[in-house]
């Protein structure tokens, strides 16, 4: 049997005494876009953090069928899991180019230059700002940089935490368009946490709705768009 690229089995995570994830199970098939929806505090970010092992968790996290729950965050990144965290985590004092170069840290091959061109192809604005300190970029450009930096690692799985946060609608659409292209043109697997349910449901193959640390709904994007409670709670009509 072929393993799904990523599988979580009964994953629990807590911050101190507070249980943030009450046993989450999910699968992300290779080549798909999966969206995690839910209100603030539902456990979306914690789910991503459990995968990259930046929060303590129990249960099984399987990447290509291998248990990775005990590995260090840097080892998990080296396996090909790129996690773009909440707030993007760019290095404001480094230049755009340096940020991108650092994204390729785990690479041992000599084709990093080509990938720099590839990223600039997706985000021409980053090329214009190449030598600028990343902290001087606009919010949208910073999100593009965070995305581009993640691509520099040639990841197998791209995890995005609220890429739309604080950005103008036009920029958000542009970013989601690129995520869609990465998926369709390069077969990149994406797990995206999003508040903007409308956009996420339109872009994804599969969506999961989290409520207080549990998955309460799952289905493909169009199914959930039609779902009464999703429409009421997350789409607002």
């Amino acid at each position: 049997m072929r393993h799904p690229l990523l599988a979580l089995q009964d994953v629990e995570a807590r911050y101190g005494q507070v249980l943030a994830l009450h046993g989450i199970s999910l699968e992300v098939a290779e080549g798909t876009i999966v969206a995690l929806l839910g209100a603030n505090g539902a456990g979306k970010t914690t789910t991503l953090r459990a995968i990259s092992n930046t929060v303590r968790s129990t249960g099984e996290v399987l990447f290509e069928g291998k248990r990775i729950g005990r590995r260090s965050p840097e080892a998990i990144a080296a396996l090909g899991v790129a996690h773009v965290p909440e707030g993007r985590g760019i290095f404001p004092d480094l230049t755009v180019r340096e940020n991108l170069r650092l994204g390729a840290y785990t690479r041992r091959d000599r084709r990093v230059k080509e990938d720099l061109e590839r990223v600039f192809g997706y985000f021409p604005r980053l090329r214009e700002r190449e030598a600028q300190a990343a902290g001087t970029l606009s919010g949208g450009e910073q999100q593009m940089l965070a995305l581009g930096r993640a691509l520099m690692a040639r990841p197998r799985l791209l995890m995005l935490d609220e890429p739309s946060l604080g950005l103008a609608p036009l920029v958000v659409r542009e970013i989601f368009e690129i995520i869609g292209r990465l998926n369709s043109e390069e077969g990149l697997t994406v797990l995206v946490v999003e508040q903007n349910a409308k956009l996420a449901l339109a872009a994804c193959n599969q969506a999961l709705v989290l409520e207080v640390g549990r998955i309460v709904l799952r289905g493909d994007g169009t199914e959930l768009q039609a779902n009464e409670s999703v429409r009421k709670s997350y789409l607002g009509y």
Binding site: S52, T54, P73, E74, A75, A77, A78, A82, H83, V84, P85, G89, I90, F91, P92, D93, L94, E98, R101, L102, G103, Y105, T106, R149, A153
Partner: protein, 300 residues
């Protein structure tokens, strides 16, 4: 006090740059560690003293040539710095800043004791690689030693700059210093980067220790006590987060203090340190983040 002549002024500037280079290298060591941990390593001076004793031991007890001992000491200090981070600092990684600061204070006391225990507390004579013979360039005379010290400081700073600016590991260290968690998510082994920072800082400290001992000729286990204060002053002056600031701050401090000592009777001798501290006070009042520091808001 000295009567003013231009050649005297230039001479004093060169001699100030020479001591400034010593401050700069120790200040740079402090800044490298501060950037990645937000902690001032109070043991930096004692680490340098210990390194200096290793060099002395190689030269004096084992008959090593100066430069052989010099480079061997840099290498051993690097390894020692890495080991210190791995064993003493690693257990308190992520602890509050005050806790880590106390650990470095403890390290100061422990290293001072260790130095006395291993090498004895008496005053020793340290050889210098450069003669103090004066050379004359266009009416200005300064010692070969001053020129050598300035040269060594420049080489060390240039090598570090190239390392941080153009190598993958140097870039990863800068990233780690800015945002540890983000660097980790990119696959950067953060722990190894921190240890490497301690190694580099220890080697820089060793350089400043050997130069200090060479410039004052005699030394004892308290060799770097005063230098540490000047280096801290230099680091604060330049902005604790800025490596360039540390270097400029160190050189500036060396020159200004030397000029004050030469042209005023007040700031020579014992009042020299007071002069240094007065400079810092003024800078902090005018520019709290230092000359090269940037004012940043941090979430607490």
């Amino acid at each position: 006090m000295v009567a003013f002549t231009w050649s005297e002024l230039f001479q004093q500037i060169v001699s100030g740059l020479s001591t400034g280079g010593i401050y700069a290298s120790l200040a740079l060591a402090i800044v490298i560690i501060y950037r990645s941990t937000r902690v001032i390593n109070f043991a930096q001076g004692e680490m340098a003293t210990f390194s200096t004793y290793i060099a002395f031991w190689l030269i004096h007890d084992h008959g090593w040539p100066y430069w052989g001992a010099f480079f061997a000491t840099l290498a051993m200090s690097f390894v020692g710095g890495v080991l210190l981070e791995r064993t003493v600092l690693r257990p308190v990684e992520g602890a509050p800043v005050l806790t880590i600061a106390i650990v470095t204070l403890g390290l100061l006391v422990a290293l001072n004791g260790l130095t006395r225990w291993l090498f004895g507390g008496e005053t020793q004579v340290f050889p210098s690689a450069f003669s103090t013979r004066a050379i004359h360039v266009g009416g200005v005379s300064f010692s070969l030693q001053d020129a050598g010290f300035i040269g060594l400081a420049i080489v060390a700073v240039a090598l570090l700059w190239v390392f941080f600016q153009f190598t993958k590991v140097g870039l990863a260290m800068r990233g780690t210093a800015i945002n540890r968690d983000a660097a980790r998510l990119l696959g950067v082994p953060v722990g190894r980067m921190l240890a490497l920072g301690w190694g580099l800082a220890a080697a820089l400290g060793a350089l400043s220790g050997m130069l200090t001992a060479g410039s004052v000729a005699t030394f004892d286990p308290n060799l770097m006590l005063g230098v540490l204060l000047y280096a801290l002053a230099a680091a604060v002056l330049g902005g604790l987060e800025s490596p360039i600031g540390a270097v400029v701050g160190g050189l500036l401090l060396g020159v200004v203090l030397n000029l004050l000592g030469t042209y005023t009777s007040f700031f020579s001798g014992d009042m020299r340190l007071v002069g240094g501290l007065a400079i810092i006070l003024v800078v902090l009042l005018v520019r709290p983040a230092g000359i090269f520091g940037r004012v940043t808001a941090r979430k607490v």
